[in-house]
């Protein structure tokens, strides 16, 4: 980072980008489990609220179609282990999804008690309860089928790749997972706010998932750099690409290369890996540009690291933000200011960023227009969070609108890199799982 790590006497008022803005103990409190798990009693009370709907709308709303009424009934009747099996049968990363899913826009939005009372059944928390209980008991309720002798390459050990690998291994195929980063997990490990997945859960879940057997993970291997798609095609019976979106969109505003301007995803990744949060420098005046979950995660965590002023600036209105209402509220409660309808014009600064100039926007049916009015926000750190892009470019036929499409010549795709579906962990899991099903059919046909 830009600033040297000085003595631990900084405060939120220390100018520039500085570490140790807070007393040591405050970090632990700030980054503790954001939504603590339900204990057994709380889970029973929450489970009792489920109506066990017919063809339940929550199932339809879940990208992985978990049988939610069934698993809640299993919790209600004292068998959270059976509940976890129900969850994992559809979503092998059900533990992580329980933590990071925007349930307020998925299952819980569809819950009939949301319609009835504005208070949905706490599906996410119940899912976490079941999977936590079962994982704590060391349960992995799946047994690998007899080896088929078929080898499949999975590129990317993120949610899509892991879900794909587990399902393939379950069917007895041998899976080699290639991962460019030092650890498996993808955004579960390198993205996502730390307080959503505490206690090293991402790695614990990977370890747990690998209990199925038949999966080998090779870290530090990058597609395009260390291996080509053609090599994989010739070496393996099938290939799955779950490579995510490694690039970050540019602001296309003057001065965005000034020191102090950084990709939010890099900041979050560094935060997730740093052993001591007090050593992670953060600005006094932080500006986050963007309107998605990454923007919120970067902004809230900046605040939690001791930044004095954190502002999210989004070019459209609150209803257009891809961060859910719940996430926006969470940011505001954490002390983050959200400014809507403003787009960056210039990043200002002599030698390093000192402010960002924005222009107000108007978003109407005819599209977004820039208004003449402008304003300037003081900033010693700017995070860019206006979306990620595909960096790997395979043959042109596989790319549509900047995303991969498949299957094509024995290559399947899934997760954020794939066209279609929202860029959510749970969607990635669904796509990885479904690709595995398709691969299995292809490998066993004829």
């Amino acid at each position: 980072m830009e600033k040297d790590i000085g003595p631990m006497t900084n405060s939120p008022l220390t100018p520039g980008i500085a570490p140790a803005r807070l007393p040591a103990a405050t970090y632990a409190a700030n980054f503790a489990d954001h939504t603590p798990p339900l204990d057994r009693h709380e889970a029973r009370v929450a489970a009792d609220r489920c109506y066990f709907c017919h063809d339940a709308p929550c199932i339809t709303a879940c990208p992985t179609a978990i049988d939610i009424p069934l698993f809640i009934r299993q919790i209600a009747t004292g068998t959270p282990e059976a509940a976890a099996t129900t969850i994992w049968s559809q979503n092998i990363l059900g533990g992580m999804c329980a933590r990071v899913c925007p349930t307020e826009t998925l299952c819980e939005a569809a819950c009939v008690r949301e319609a009835a009372e504005g208070k949905p059944v706490e599906i996410g928390l119940l899912q976490r309860h079941a999977t936590d209980v079962a994982m704590a008991r060391g349960l992995h309720p799946f047994t690998r089928a007899a080896p088929t002798g078929k080898r499949v390459a999975v590129v990317g050990a993120g949610p899509a790749g892991l879900a794909c690998a587990h399902r393939l291994a379950l069917y007895g195929h041998d899976v080699v997972v290639l991962e460019r980063r030092p650890k498996a997990g993808g955004l579960n490990e390198y993205g996502i706010a730390s307080y959503k997945t505490t206690g090293g859960f991402a790695q614990a879940e990977v370890e747990w998932l690998l209990q199925i057997g038949g999966i080998e993970i090779r870290c530090g291997v990058e597609l395009g750099r260390d291996v080509t798609l053609d090599q994989l095609r010739s070496d393996y019976a099938a290939v799955f690409l779950g490579i995510g979106l490694a690039g970050v969109n540019a602001l296309r505003a003057a001065g965005e290369d000034l020191p102090g301007v950084r990709d939010a995803v890099d900041f979050i990744a560094e935060l997730r890996q740093i052993p001591d949060l007090a050593t992670l420098p953060v600005g006094r005046d932080v500006v986050v540009i963007g309107g998605g979950m990454t923007a919120v995660d970067a902004a809230v965590q900046s605040k939690l690291l001791g930044a004095e002023n954190v502002t999210i600036v989004y070019r459209r209105g609150p209803e257009r933000m891809s961060a859910s209402r719940y996430e926006q509220d969470h940011a505001v409660q954490a002390g983050v200011r959200i400014i809507h309808n403003a787009a960056p014009l210039r990043v200002l600064g002599e030698g390093r960023v000192s402010a960002v100039e924005f222009g107000y926007t108007s978003d109407g049916p005819a599209g977004m227009t820039l208004l003449p009015e402008t304003f300037t926000l003081k900033a010693d750190q700017v995070f860019k969070a206006i979306g990620q892009t595909l960096t790997y470019a395979p043959e042109a036929a596989m790319v549509q609108s900047g995303k991969l499409v498949g299957p094509m010549r024995n290559v399947w795709v899934g997760g954020d890199c794939a066209a279609g579906g929202e860029d959510l962990t749970v969607t990635a899991v669904a796509e990885g799982r479904d690709a595995a099903e398709a691969i299995h059919v292809a490998l066993t046909a004829g």
């Binding site: 009792d48 339940a56 709308p57």
Partner: protein, 431 residues
Amino acid sequence: MANLSSDFIGIKSPNPFWLASAPPTDKKYNVERAFQAGWGGVVWKTLGAEGPPVVNVNGPRYGAVWGADRRLLGLNNIELITDRPLEVNLREIKEVKRKWRDRAMVISLMVPCDEDSWKDILHRIEDTEADGVELNFGCPHGMAERGMGSAVGQVPEYIEMVTAWVKKHSRMPCIVKLTPNITNILGPAEAAKRGGADAVSLINTINSITSVNLDSFSPEPMIDGKGTHGGYCGPAVKPIAMNMVAEIARGADTRGLPISGIGGITTWRDAAEFMALGAGNVQVCTAAMTYGFKIVEEMISGLSQYLDDKQISLNDLIGRAVPNVTDWQYLNLNYVAKAQIDQDLCIKCGRCYAACEDTSHQAIAMKPGRVFEVMDDECVACNLCVNVCPVEECITMVPMAKGSIDPRTGVKVGDYANWTTHPNNPGFAAE
């Protein structure tokens, strides 16, 4: 505010809510707390004959059945009659009655089935100034094995005999408490009436095992690995109790016999229902044991409001539903209703659909957007959809107008006609 003053067989109380003979009325301390809370009267927990008191188990006495959110729906117990010395109970009864003159004080009794025992206990309680006695012919556990409680209540001849002894040796109003652990409640009720009872009270508790511990394989409540049947009470038994109350209220030989209604009464509404079915007053136990004595405040305010809203007196309420309790054979077979779903209230859970499609008449259509609609040409108006719907008033049964055509049968909705004159009735056709 409606006047809730109650006169039940000459026993006056400021309201018709009494506490039933049970743990809440075992001693002065509890009863005084109950009176402070506003209860109209108590039936003191059953006294036994003089001598060493009975003993209770020293492990769990209660078992339970819960609904959602662990709401207590049913409770059973294996507690016996009072385990305190007779003279202590008598002294306390007298003290409480003197202090609380306006409240009803009835003493529950259970002694061996011989005239001298009853004569003796009646003689002993005379001095307490209690307002009446209730004969406990109901308890199904423990005492029944010793020839008391439901062992008496299950033999109408004994009921009549003991009741007659009581009337012979006491001038006190006599209420006979009936056990539901019989096949027809009318037998015991008629016997009580023949014996001279001033009233019956019912129901006592029902033989039950509430649950089985699946680790120790013992019934609950478990005492050192074993369990026994206990007496079941609470909201779960209310329907059983109300049927028995209604049977007595409309019975040819029991009609007019005052009834003190007991069985799962938890709210003013439950009490009003019992009274509409013929109960002159009600007795409460489980609700108080679940929530404490304070619930009587809701019972008082709720019943008052109801009577005011209806502009009727308490006496007008008593028995008001009895003429509408009939036998199945007299139900109007030409009454045709159809379920109707209020789409504005519907929360789209689909439980009506699952219930109807899987277990009933396939009369609800599930349309795109989770719109659930009743198909009148299939609906038999069974009411299951109403019963499983989580939203009150969302599904209602709408009667068809006379003269309209039932789309299910193609038959015109006609005048009243019942089974007794139905062509399919072999008894009728034979004539």
